[in-house]
């Protein structure tokens, strides 16, 4: 639309009073209408089925997901508007959390939030004339395996992230080594693991080791979900990760800003992802400082 001259700016928004309306519950209920008779509802059960199959196929599990949930919570502690930032999540807190849909504990599951986010897309030329620092979309990839979860063979990967990530990196002409941080769509802790795995940061089942020692945390070599993400900041669908990527590249993230103050690399390139359905669609963006 921008290239065709139909408009000069595109605003992409998400807003929801999810804590007060029944809209989200209704949508999730519809997703599993045919399985409700068996007590199977919404996204939690679907992703839990995927995570269990992954435990069986490549040996992941709560030990790996704890490092993701606790790591993101440390970022949330640096974000004054995060929902969970004041509540630490040490290893023992994670394992004490109530089981929701085994293998998922409550702390493996994203928040339900009131609020919203928006991003504005325009041409690079216009963006450079605006008041805010520009961030460039330098690569995009998408793959949508589509099949419903009951018939799916991609639960333990490769998910759509594999092809989408490769395409996005190729378009941006960068490799994983050039990536300074990731903002990964984290409806569940397992989603972060399988997405990073499919992008190629580690091999199947090596996530636990890769995460060890605070890799994704403040001070780590590959910061992930630096606002706290949907697990610990707030859930605004794909807008939580992409908005955080943009704000980090602009240098507007206060106490959690990537760079010397969080003992991390000053960001030039950030990878952001989004998912739909039960791992049924995947989009990856490579964003660069403008």
């Amino acid at each position: 639309m921008l290239d065709a001259g139909i408009c000069n700016y595109v605003v992409i928004t998400y807003g929801h009073s999810a804590l007060w309306g029944g809209g989200m519950a209704q949508m999730l209920f519809q997703m599993t209408r045919n399985e409700a008779a068996f007590g199977h509802f919404g996204a939690v059960g679907g992703y839990a089925l995927a995570a269990r199959r992954a435990m069986h196929e490549f040996g992941t599990g709560p030990g790996t997901w704890q490092r993701i949930a606790s790591g993101q919570r440390k970022w949330a502690a640096l974000n004054p508007i995060s929902v969970m930032g004041k509540k630490p999540l040490a290893e023992e807190d994670y394992f004490k959390a109530p089981m929701a849909a085994d293998p998922f504990r409550l702390v493996d599951i994203c928040l339900v939030s009131d609020g919203g986010r928006a991003i504005i897309v325009t041409s690079a030329e216009r963006a450079r004339d605006l008041r805010q620092p520009a961030v460039l979309i330098s690569g995009m990839g998408q793959q949508n395996p589509s099949r419903e979860i009951g018939q799916a063979r991609y639960m333990a990967g490769p998910t759509g992230a594999k092809k989408a990530g490769k395409e996005a990196l190729q378009m941006a002409d960068v490799s994983l080594k050039d990536v300074d941080a990731c903002q990964i769509y984290d409806c569940f802790s397992y989603t972060v693991e399988i997405t990073l795995q499919d992008y190629g940061f580690f091999g199947p089942g090596e996530g636990g080791d890769w995460l060890k020692g605070g890799t994704i945390e403040p001070g780590g070599s590959m910061p992930v979900n630096t606002s706290g993400g949907q697990l610990s900041e707030a859930y605004f669908m794909g807008l939580t990760p992409i908005a955080e990527a943009v704000m980090q590249l602009r240098g507007q993230c206060g106490d959690r800003q990537l760079g010397p103050q969080t003992q991390t690399k000053p960001p030039e390139v950030i990878l952001a992802s989004d998912n739909g359905g039960i791992l049924q669609s995947h989009a990856c963006f490579v964003l660069k400082k403008g």
Binding site: F38, G39, G45, H56, A100, Q151
Partner: protein, 134 residues
């Protein structure tokens, strides 16, 4: 949609399956052209697009592809049923069903575990195909 009636609402495609369940028979569509046994039911073969179809009965044996143990009820109807097990069962004939595993201690559940159908007549109109260890 009624939020509290959770029994399946068969459509033209799924009616033979749910009628079969009432007779304790697992009936699936089999493509008359290429032999694909399909689930969920539909008017076209997803493999060859043929509309020619015959019904075949499954022996009711399969394995657990994956499972989840619900500890939180996501609906009031299930408040007194937690913890319970939802699984994907892969039948020997091919279809993969979302179902419940019953009569199995949770600690002995495992992916790829052999199971067989266990009929649950939940009402006069509806029988659910559940599974138990084989």
């Amino acid at each position: 949609m009624t939020y509290n009636d959770l029994t399946p609402t068969p459509d033209a495609d799924s009616k033979p399956f749910w009628e079969g369940c009432r007779n304790h028979e697992l009936l699936f569509q089999k493509c008359a052209e290429c032999g694909e046994i399909r689930w969920p039911p539909g008017i076209l073969c997803p493999r060859c697009h043929s509309q020619e179809v015959e019904m075949v009965q499954s022996g009711g044996k399969g394995t657990i592809y994956s499972y989840v143990i619900y500890h939180q009820p996501f609906h009031p109807e299930f408040a007194d049923k937690v913890p319970y097990v939802v699984a994907i069962v892969e039948l020997e004939e091919g279809p993969m069903l979302i179902t419940n595993i019953v009569e199995c201690p949770h600690e002995s559940l495992a992916c790829d575990m052999p199971v067989q159908v266990h009929w649950d007549d939940v009402s006069e109109e509806c029988t659910l195909p559940k599974f138990r260890p084989a």
